[in-house]
Symmetry: C3
Amino acid sequence: MNNYMKESRLLHGGDYNPDQWLDYPEILAKDLEMMGQAHVNTVSVGIFAWSALEPREGEFHFEWLDKIMDDVHRMGGNVILATPSGARPAWLSQKYPEVLRTNAKREKMLHGGRHNHCFSSPVYREKVAIINRKLAERYGQHPALLMWHISNEYGGDCHCEYCQENFRTWLKAKYGSLEALNKAWWGPFWSHSFSDWSQVASPSPLGESAVHGLNLDWKRFVTDQTIDFYRHEIKDIRRLTPDVPVTTNFMADTMDLVPFYSLDYEKFAKEVDVVSWDCYPAWHNDWETTADLASKVGFIDDLYRSLKGKSFLIMESTPSGVNWHPVNKTKRPGMHLLSAMQHIAHGSDSNLYFQWRKSRGSSEKFHGAVVDHDNSTDNRVFQEVAQVGKLMEKIATVKGANKQAKVAILYDWDNNWALDDAQGFAQATKRYPQTCQAHYRYFWDRDIPVDVVTPNYDLSQYDLVVAPMLYLLTETNMQHLADFVKGGGRLVSTYLTGIVNESDLTYINGWPATLQDLFGVKVKETDVYYPRDHNQVVMADTSYSVKDYAALLEVLDAEVVARYGEDFYAGEAAVTKKTTGNGTAYFVGARTDNDFLVDFYQEVTAGLNLMPPLVVAGDPEVSVQMRTGSKGDFTFVMNFSEMTKTITLAREQVDLLTGKTVPTQLELRPYQVCVFQRKV
Amino acid sequence: MNNYMKESRLLHGGDYNPDQWLDYPEILAKDLEMMGQAHVNTVSVGIFAWSALEPREGEFHFEWLDKIMDDVHRMGGNVILATPSGARPAWLSQKYPEVLRTNAKREKMLHGGRHNHCFSSPVYREKVAIINRKLAERYGQHPALLMWHISNEYGGDCHCEYCQENFRTWLKAKYGSLEALNKAWWGPFWSHSFSDWSQVASPSPLGESAVHGLNLDWKRFVTDQTIDFYRHEIKDIRRLTPDVPVTTNFMADTMDLVPFYSLDYEKFAKEVDVVSWDCYPAWHNDWETTADLASKVGFIDDLYRSLKGKSFLIMESTPSGVNWHPVNKTKRPGMHLLSAMQHIAHGSDSNLYFQWRKSRGSSEKFHGAVVDHDNSTDNRVFQEVAQVGKLMEKIATVKGANKQAKVAILYDWDNNWALDDAQGFAQATKRYPQTCQAHYRYFWDRDIPVDVVTPNYDLSQYDLVVAPMLYLLTETNMQHLADFVKGGGRLVSTYLTGIVNESDLTYINGWPATLQDLFGVKVKETDVYYPRDHNQVVMADTSYSVKDYAALLEVLDAEVVARYGEDFYAGEAAVTKKTTGNGTAYFVGARTDNDFLVDFYQEVTAGLNLMPPLVVAGDPEVSVQMRTGSKGDFTFVMNFSEMTKTITLAREQVDLLTGKTVPTQLELRPYQVCVFQRKV
Amino acid sequence: MNNYMKESRLLHGGDYNPDQWLDYPEILAKDLEMMGQAHVNTVSVGIFAWSALEPREGEFHFEWLDKIMDDVHRMGGNVILATPSGARPAWLSQKYPEVLRTNAKREKMLHGGRHNHCFSSPVYREKVAIINRKLAERYGQHPALLMWHISNEYGGDCHCEYCQENFRTWLKAKYGSLEALNKAWWGPFWSHSFSDWSQVASPSPLGESAVHGLNLDWKRFVTDQTIDFYRHEIKDIRRLTPDVPVTTNFMADTMDLVPFYSLDYEKFAKEVDVVSWDCYPAWHNDWETTADLASKVGFIDDLYRSLKGKSFLIMESTPSGVNWHPVNKTKRPGMHLLSAMQHIAHGSDSNLYFQWRKSRGSSEKFHGAVVDHDNSTDNRVFQEVAQVGKLMEKIATVKGANKQAKVAILYDWDNNWALDDAQGFAQATKRYPQTCQAHYRYFWDRDIPVDVVTPNYDLSQYDLVVAPMLYLLTETNMQHLADFVKGGGRLVSTYLTGIVNESDLTYINGWPATLQDLFGVKVKETDVYYPRDHNQVVMADTSYSVKDYAALLEVLDAEVVARYGEDFYAGEAAVTKKTTGNGTAYFVGARTDNDFLVDFYQEVTAGLNLMPPLVVAGDPEVSVQMRTGSKGDFTFVMNFSEMTKTITLAREQVDLLTGKTVPTQLELRPYQVCVFQRKV
């Protein structure tokens, strides 16, 4: 059993960069002591430490890291040890320029920044292999070593000749022949057929940007190439430390908080032992409510948890604010605890921060940290962090517990890429991830647990599958959905579904027969709205406004649930339902606001038992999430509002955080969270 | 007599790309049959087909095209055959990089996209000559061949060394000596005099962008160089098929629909046998009324018709929506017929589409087409196209008929370039084309026929000439305008007129004497308004608001028509009128809204007989346009609104579209169009 | 005594470019005559004349300049003679490409534009030395020569290899060792430590942009390198004409009129004999009042005057409008006089224009000038210029008089650069220069004279020092401020003060002790507001709204002046005051609107005698400024509004401009200015 499995505590701590403070021994000395006060048990070390570990080619300095490993172990803590490939020392760029990326305009980048190495460069791979092997050899058996943190926030792409060659190799393996590639990419359009493999190149603003098949394959290649680099990074690590789990930190796209765009984490999740991610919501912003944003956080937590179907880690978060939002507001009192507990409620076994200590210089010196420049334990942030650490100790038994859901929402990276690149519809209103989140909101508001999975997952365990806007939908996955309904499931689909196949080629001869049969409708055309256009769908005498998209449907053998209120298709079907045995397939032709979704899902979920067993808050701004594990059920009740909320419990409960019994009429202060346990 | 002259039908059809479907014989087989159902009689073939025609250098494949030519002929149709230079095969870019453009930053472009070859490259010219000659040899005598479609939507520029050398040659021919060039470009300013021809280079954001004379000459050179390339393309074609007419498709600039900016179509029109253009208005948008947009379409139709003073072709349009507007809304029912008829009403002998069939892949797969991905004749678009085809057959006798106008509005590419580039006034409010369209609107609203010509045209045939904002006005054209007034004409000119000569050098020693004499005023200064500034012109006790520009006038011997209401020049002349014999010259010093133009033109046109003889709708949103030809007068009455409109006819008429007699109180449904014929 | 000291007139005239008109002898002939009519006594000649002086390498043409020098002298005028380095002849770029700049993306620029030479290029330095020496030799003793005008509006940077090498040399001199540089730049962050000097390079969007220490040092280097080039330019000039004063024209950043960002004029001012600057406010714009803008002009005048603590020159301004604002509105009648007098009131000894005569061609042909294209003396602009010239003659005795102030506002280039680059807070609301101007506004509104100096100046002469947002504050300058208070001064400081040292490294272990001791508070954290966030400070029962920033303070031994009204820190200290002996230190924790500053400064200034002795307008829109010299006090009373204003004078005065005695109840027309003299 490895240290990670042996560790019974929830992880509390974060990125720790002693290499920045080697000239400040008094600081380093104080760190360990302060970690104790902050109830920190885990630090991530070595991210960006390459120039401290190998300041000149082949000259290695591990003494400082030895000491940190030992010190952390001595205080009873864990180290998540990073490979340093996220940023290079200057000597490496200078001596081997091939390690620098070439951008899409084919400009060779200069040294600087971070996260910008070529994933193909043989030299970079060699140098990374050396340092990684040395780390594994030296620390692989160290008792403080909890887990490997491979590189940092992988992302971006490179267009150098190595990468072009790898891309062509990847294409050859995929297509077999140039003829097949020309067919898949619709080559004859604009005379874009290739007559030799050497003509194929990555997309570029100076060259090709309009071949959608190429664009889509490039994005897939970038994921595969990134994973290939990751596999290279862990080769010796796996060999030398087969028992130590490996992760790399995933991301989300802020400001409109949605899943990370550029890498297909469905593929990447298969390669890591534990999914971990970095979460930076702009709490207290001025364009959405706290509950609006919390629901988006929940969506991504549920997606990343569902990738492996088990508990995950928050690898980075801020205890206060960040430094890279347009407005860097700090968390109000209480928000840090609430936000930490939300991740745990959705399946996180950690609350780790970027960063333990604010740096003194350079661009991240104002990024929030547990220890501020004042080096003090008195300030609000340190105090709140210490409190979070203390309370996490009280709910440690939740570690490893999973979530159970009867509802799945589908999210698909391939589909997002293809739809985003599609020239057509209206660029500003595609909003595929946001639409998934809008549907998710119904369930979040009602404390109904949800998995967010891709269309390739096994859906048979669910009662309800919500699959908005699957513009790119393979025939296999269509059948997958049809089988789900045939098996008695309820399915909700929408406008902009089933338009292209995996090559981004449109289905021809009409909307796919599988879908026509499944939904009992045909999509005749899709109306696209200007911002000031208006229409309604009318369901049971209530009107709901329509925006952005409206599919015009020919009803084959479906029941009409709602009809359009205006325009030349007034009175025609807008939302339909087809029942097949116990299963039902809904098709929502129009994009609406939340008011329609509320009433619609009321009907869709009628008769299903989707509720969490213990507590239902009955207030959209109070979120209830439950994890179930070997130690029982853990129910988190969280007030994502600036108001006191009263909710009714079925019976009195003990709040694990306070140790006190709370009444059935529970008053929750703004941002308050309670945790109840039902033992098995 | 060539096929085009022999063809008695209006052309209906469009771009057809069988080369994209060679792997889909069942699709190709169905195309011809569906064309019949759609009343299609003409297809444009071969645009972008180079890689299908010559997949490897020197390896030609004409079999597929042979079959298409024969098939189309067999169904009684015409082929407009394109030269394929609009996009290159990859082997051509790969083997001969010189064919790729160099952009203004002197970056060599990569292969990809379209419309991006160097117009100077000897290799590109050689390769184009070969393929064009082969097409002319093989199909020049084919009975289906109607016309040559040279390349596609010429545009853009190249800054490679070949082009630089050609530019210098062009300048030497124009200026004779470097001294003359230095004088014309005001060389000493910022030490920009050249001491050797080799120092002269095209404008660049990395180098020279502020020498207006250079910028203007570069734009002129680009037009001339594009025409030179076009002449090269047609050399063998003219030799081998002297009787087959030649065209190339012109464009407009969307979204604010104005004439194409980058090429001087006055020059280009002289080189083609028939003017054709591609029109993509954003019907049903949310920032203007249908009539607002229809009027802009009418302006460009009238401009492009007037270029050669005869009927023209719509070479591309969409039967539904496009894929490249920010919001790609489809035409509402009825709009397709209305919009097709509007072009015919303004002088088009065709309604051709981009495109016959939607492609399956790549960036234009969602561009509207007659045949959608469903491959069906049942959908709304196909049905409406078929109806348009059928109705065009009913008015075929209009073919070749021209328009007659007593009003000319002047539009000048040189002036637009010079004014647009001028540093001064206010960049956001120059809006020269839009101002021409604003004046045009008066006449369109009142069904008064208008020609839109350049200042170089013979104006003697007109009663009224409207010449807004001729910032660049040569002495020759000043005299031209003066002669027009001397000959009894009425002339309207505005602020920002007569400021620079053909070298973009300001006139010195005061506003040109010819203009002072013509208008009886001197422009003292031009006030430029911020958006929130306000003023009025007062005419006959009515106030009209002023925006953007206000010329301060010294009245010499003109009559004051309106005066300013505010600011330090309150009470001074804003609009003047000088009568010389039968002629009158109006000077409108301020930019106003439409309300002033309505009252002003009421006075300007008083006593003139500018009206169409048959019908006057009396409603701005109902447009009436008449064409007169050997078969009589054809009057098109078109309701550009979403309301039913009632108009009064002098007598009952037969609507050619329905074959029915309509009453004198004619009710027009939204978007309805009627066509009346008065036989000769 | 040099000509400049001998000259008893205020300078009136401006940039004169006869080299553009050498082909127009009739124009040149008229210029001198018209200068007389315009009361012009000084022209700046030779800016951008290099291609006229040396049209081919080594071929010099001074005849035309000889004539201008003689002619101007003959009319009794002065010449400010420019070195022509601001723009190159084409032959120089062509033969020696190294003179062209390399931009931050390492792209070599092409020939063109202006102000774009490499400051390091040995060739450029050599060619500049030759032409400068020849000018000094030929005209150094010419009786018309008043002053040297070195180059023109120095600015920009170059990233070529010469500049990189100079930058590394500069860094070596500054840091001594690479280790010291790594420490100062916080090298280990993101592995950015250097192991060899050759790895260091200037910031680039293609490489390093996030190392704040590097960014800051690069900006400092650019200033030093520009000055180094300037020193090179004047080397022979100083040797040959030791008595002729030297200047170079400084700038401001328009549109939000603030001091020039890119060069540290504190350093540059030490190198020039007379500070001169180019001022282009957008008078009559539609987003601020005339007084708003006038106050900003006053701020920059007071800053540039304070740089050397003596009278300065307006080297460029426009008599009407410019050509490069988004909207180029001309000055309303009276504004030209008012704006000319404002500069003189703040310490200018000149009113010089860009430009004497509008050019005929190229990009500045619509920039305002004394002589317009009409070549006439009749138009409004010429008339107003002539009037200004005439009136300047009436107040010539003000020449050389200085201003006396008991209030200093601190402005610091280093701080602006560091804060602007800081990732943190909120990028859109940093607004350091605008905040200094907001505090300045209190004094301007009340006619209290103010010096604007940097924190390095001697503050002991002041009663009150206002030091907003000194984010970068050295320990030396902290002590400087503390000493000022210890000496009995009153000091006002704000949020975002004392955060980093001169290396942009944060102070650690809490807010600097010197500041804690000085203000009697500790800054605990700084809240950053979204635009729609709200809060208040409450002072003496009045509430004032807070925006953008709010520092949370721990009060040590200060008195609380105002408290926060909302949020989790409601009731906590927002503004504090600590008295030490006679001195007082105020700390303003929150950014407020002007209403708070008015009431706050009322208290701060209580008991101080800061008022000008003669006149207090009592109306914020009427500005009173006084200069004191050997000829007495000169009081300028200026109505910066569009309304008639009545102010009360202590006694009757003679207005120097009209020669008339004005009553004690003085009515000022819109834009009117009066000048009163109290003789010594």
